[in-house]
């Protein structure tokens, strides 16, 4: 791990680069010098960055392998869509910005509550068992969302399980998901959410609570002997990550005209985990870069048609080989002396 000063510099550089990229992209959008596919991907990229950074809080900082992160995104997405639809139909709130903010906050809160409820049983487990149970909860969330019907009638929200015979306009239609969603997400909102996530995660990591979370990860017995309540801090990381994932979900859900519950399957959880692993476990700037790159890459590979996912997999393997193998690391070490200590630290973390 780096010293305090080095960590401060990394944080500031991360904020700086994200802000600079936002400004450049906004100017490019104004000049219309950006391709339409990329423009359409900007909001999903922001959501996936938030997902990757928040999962890194659980996997990297807290050291627990969670395989159900997409479940929280799903909860956030659908509660965000319901909130937005309810506010529009029931309260005639036309202002999309305010609706978006309220939807994101609600999505985050509900996902956070779900995270707390799931965290209570799950965080009693360790290692592989925890991974399996989070996977199971991710699937449970997906299947529950598949059966939920919500309709809005005036100011009242009606909801049903397994049956869509509800009075009013349907917002969620079971397995059909959310249809005719008013897309109100904006790139600026996505950027602000990324910044918010970075502030939360980086500030949490560099605080008393963050040190306790890392202590619990590095040495359970030593941390307990120092008076650190392990369950509390594991829970703190897990719930914070679930909340952020819910916010990302709301942003994502409100950028799509239709959204089906099966979208948030195990595959998406693994996808986010791939972002985290490729970017470096515990490495927040790395998560941002890999989430953005791996969201753009499949689109860029469209010209390969049927071989698209094959090429994606090969590129992924190559990227892992080039970034994380010990020989490449020692090569980097020799090329750039400043990287030496960092590479050693990362090696030790893995061991």
């Amino acid at each position: 791990m780096k010293t305090k000063k080095a960590r401060f510099i990394t944080s500031m550089v991360t904020y700086g680069v994200v802000i600079a990229l936002y400004i450049v992209l906004t100017i490019m959008i104004d000049n219309k010098s950006i391709s339409r596919t990329l423009k359409g991907q900007l909001i999903p990229i922001c959501s996936w960055i938030v997902m990757a950074v928040s999962l890194n809080l659980v996997v990297g900082i807290s050291g627990e392998l969670s395989l159900g992160h997409a479940g929280f995104m799903s909860i956030g997405a659908f509660s965000g869509i319901v909130t937005s639809g309810w506010l529009l139909n029931g309260f005639e709130m036309e202002d999309p910005t305010l609706r978006l903010v309220l939807a994101i906050v609600t999505g985050g809160l509900i996902a956070g509550i779900a995270g707390a409820l799931i965290g209570i049983p799950v965080l009693r487990l360790r290692g592989d068992y925890l991974a399996i149970v989070t996977l199971a909860f991710g699937e449970i969330i997906k299947n529950v969302m598949n059966c939920v019907y919500v309709a809005v009638e005036g100011k009242a929200l009606n909801w049903g399980f397994l049956s869509g015979d509800l009075p009013g306009t349907l917002l969620l239609n079971g397995p059909m998901g959310a249809v005719k969603v008013k897309t109100i997400s904006t790139f600026t909102a996505g950027f602000l959410l990324v910044m918010f996530t970075l502030v939360v995660v980086l500030n949490l990591t560099n605080s008393r609570s963050g040190r306790a979370i890392m202590a619990a990860r590095d040495n359970r017995i030593a941390a307990e002997s120092m008076g650190i309540n392990i369950t509390k801090y594991k829970m703190m990381a897990f719930v914070t990550a679930a909340t952020l994932a819910g916010m990302a979900g709301a942003l994502y859900g409100l950028s799509m005209a239709t959204l089906v519950p099966t979208k948030f399957s195990f595959n998406e959880s693994i996808n986010v985990l791939v972002f985290v692993v490729l970017g470096g476990i515990g490495n927040i700037p790395g998560s941002i870069v890999s989430a953005a790159a791996l969201t753009i890459l499949p689109e860029k590979l469209r010209f390969l048609q049927n071989y698209r996912m094959l090429a994606y997999a090969v590129l992924l393997i190559l990227a892992m080989l080039l970034s994380n193998n010990p020989m490449m690391k020692s090569l980097w070490k020799r090329l750039i002396p400043g990287r030496k200590e960092k590479a050693e630290g990362e090696g030790a973390m893995r061991a």
Binding site: T3, K4, N203, R211, S225, G227
Partner: protein, 286 residues
């Protein structure tokens, strides 16, 4: 520094219960009281009928051959293991329902035989982990960087440096703990334990891997810590110079049972101790 110079010859006097404590601690409640403490692992009595009373500022030693159950006793005292028999009291409070975390909050801090530092954190951060329950602020003050955060972080920084200075380690504050030399890691563990402001400090082989010069320095430091913080120290150690040099009371363990208790002079003469360490004389058997 010779042996005699380091050890302050405090007379040991009996409590009403008969246990011996240093004369100066007679007026205050004993910091630790174990009676009939024991643990069984599936029929194997790892520790059996362990009775000890420690005065408020006593330095006591726990010695015995390998596998005698010394570290198990530390694990019982910190509730890493749950005792199957007996009771423990910390300053008169029953420890029966406490968890490892509660025990630390109540005032027992320990170091580990196989060093358990947070290797990837800096030296200062390791001490700050020890200060976790001493200088506190909440998660939201941390995320929002409220004034409380800056104030508490500054306090933690100052306190950490002050504690590190006991072992002249303030200069190493920004070094990664895992890259410290072995002896320094042991000292850092002691500092980290001290940061939790304990009433009783448990040191598991503090001098292991140290050279004689470092050991002598450590002996002085243990006494210094005791005097400065007015705490009791219970230590496990194989280095007899250290044990005989600073301990006021020694407890010898073999196969989980106490075989002798007393002052260093008494222990050195005790035939049961000599037998446990060196075995019986052949002539004696015949």
């Amino acid at each position: 520094m010779s042996e005699a110079k380091i050890r302050q010859n405090t007379p040991m006097v009996p409590y009403p219960s008969g246990a011996m404590v240093p004369e100066r601690d007679l007026g205050s409640i004993p910091v630790l009281e174990c009676s009939h403490l024991g643990i069984e692992f599936g029929g194997l009595k790892a520790v059996d009928d362990f009775n000890v009373i420690m005065g408020k500022t006593e330095i006591a030693g726990l010695i015995g051959p390998n596998g005698a159950g010394k570290t198990t006793i530390f694990n019982l005292l910190t509730k890493v293991y749950q005792p199957t028999h007996g009771t423990m009291m910390l300053e008169g409070k029953d420890m029966g329902n406490m968890t490892t975390v509660d025990v630390n909050k109540a005032g027992i801090a320990r170091t580990f035989q196989n060093i358990r530092l947070f290797d990837n954190m800096t030296v200062e951060e390791n001490v700050r982990i020890g200060l976790h329950n001493q200088i506190r602020y909440g998660m939201f003050s941390g995320i929002l960087r409220l004034p409380k955060y800056w104030k508490a972080e500054k306090q933690q920084h100052e306190k950490a440096l002050e504690l590190l200075n006991i072992f002249d380690m303030a200069g190493l504050a920004d070094v990664r703990a895992g890259s410290l030399p072995y002896g320094a890691q042991r000292r850092l563990e002691i500092v980290r334990a001290l940061a939790t402001s304990p009433k009783l400090l448990l040191l598991d082989e503090p001098a292991a891997g140290m050279n004689p010069h470092e050991t002598e320095e450590l002996m002085g430091n243990i006494i210094k810590i005791r005097d400065q913080f007015q705490i009791a120290v219970l230590l496990i150690e194989h280095d007899m110079n250290l044990v005989m040099g600073i301990c006021e009371d020694i407890c010898v363990l073999n196969f989980g049972k106490i075989i002798a208790k007393g002052t260093p002079d008494q222990i050195q003469q005790n035939p049961a101790v000599i037998e446990a360490y060196l075995g019986k004389r052949k002539e004696a058997e015949a």
